[in-house]
Subunit: 179 residues, 2 copies
């Protein structure tokens, strides 16, 4: 990727992120973004065809970081050996925390729902391969339940003032859901 492209892309991300902290998503205009990022109008549209796509790209950026297998095996977290599911969840929470600045902006800007939607998509894959069998209740329902519970736990976490560590959040989650 061209250095110039990366630069403007980051400038736009940064500007958008700042704007989200001060006004609602729906009241942010493309004009606001390009003013804050100090890029030309046509430049913006060369990168993103719409404001929604920009948000989508920002979310993808975050999730790529959080869920990428590379990151999952970073030595400093040393979860590489421990393959317990609980550790993996804590791991995800750690990486979400690293991106907390962007995420808090997204939630504050009232486009948290979109973030939640994408988060759920990723989580679906994580929990799908893990959820134990259980006749009674439709698997579909249970998976939805667990994914929702985790996503809402994350939202609740970021709604607070950072009183909890990833480990504590993980504990809360597993105390409420059995999987």
């Amino acid at each position: 990727m061209d250095r110039r492209q990366r630069k403007t892309r980051n400038a736009i991300f940064q500007a958008f992120s700042s704007l989200l902290e001060e006004k609602r998503y729906s009241s942010i205009t493309v004009q606001d973004i390009i003013d804050a990022a100090d890029v030309g109008r046509s430049t913006f549209y060369a990168h993103f065809s719409t404001k929604e796509e920009l948000l989508r790209a920002m979310c993808d950026d975050i999730f790529e970081h959080v869920f990428s297998d590379e990151v999952m095996r970073e030595p400093e977290h040393d979860f590489s050996s421990a393959d317990s599911f609980r550790d993996r969840i804590t791991h995800i929470l750690c990486h979400l925390q690293e991106k907390q600045h962007h995420i808090k902006g997204i939630f504050a800007g009232e486009c948290g729902e979109i973030f939640m939607k994408y988060l759920r998509e990723y989580l679906w894959g994580v929990f799908d391969q893990r959820l134990p069998e259980d006749g009674e209740i439709p698997r579909d329902y249970r998976l939805n339940h667990v994914v929702s519970a985790f996503a809402e736990t994350v939202r609740w976490w970021f709604g607070g003032r950072g009183e909890y560590t990833p480990e504590q959040i993980s504990a809360l989650f597993f105390a409420s859901v059995d999987c």
Copy 2:
């Protein structure tokens, strides 16, 4: 309320509801609504100051029906004597089902998040007075968890093809959450 007002209000609700089934919420314009409802532009703005407010009003309409105490004591449901919490939940589900046409439109139109948000506000009150004490986990978190679980259960239910009765949904919910 003036008969004329009710008429136009209903016309607008009806038009909006239909539109939601065929296009995304964000791509529906006020112009679309007044064309479909066949009312003047100024008439629309006399009723609702914005598209969001219209949605809000529609949701309130639904929740007023679902959560009103009058409705809660309708004799045909004969939950009036049974004060078990579980019955109350089933009751709520019944009334949601009665409004399923509007609700499905809202979910389909991709403004389900707003509906969910309002639903959660109402549910908060319902579960708040019911949730048993339990030291370990912050009450805040547990309440959020239960409310989310129920709201997501509802979304899951409406996402299906009506395969389940309110009683079955209630059973699924209480099998997944302890309260």
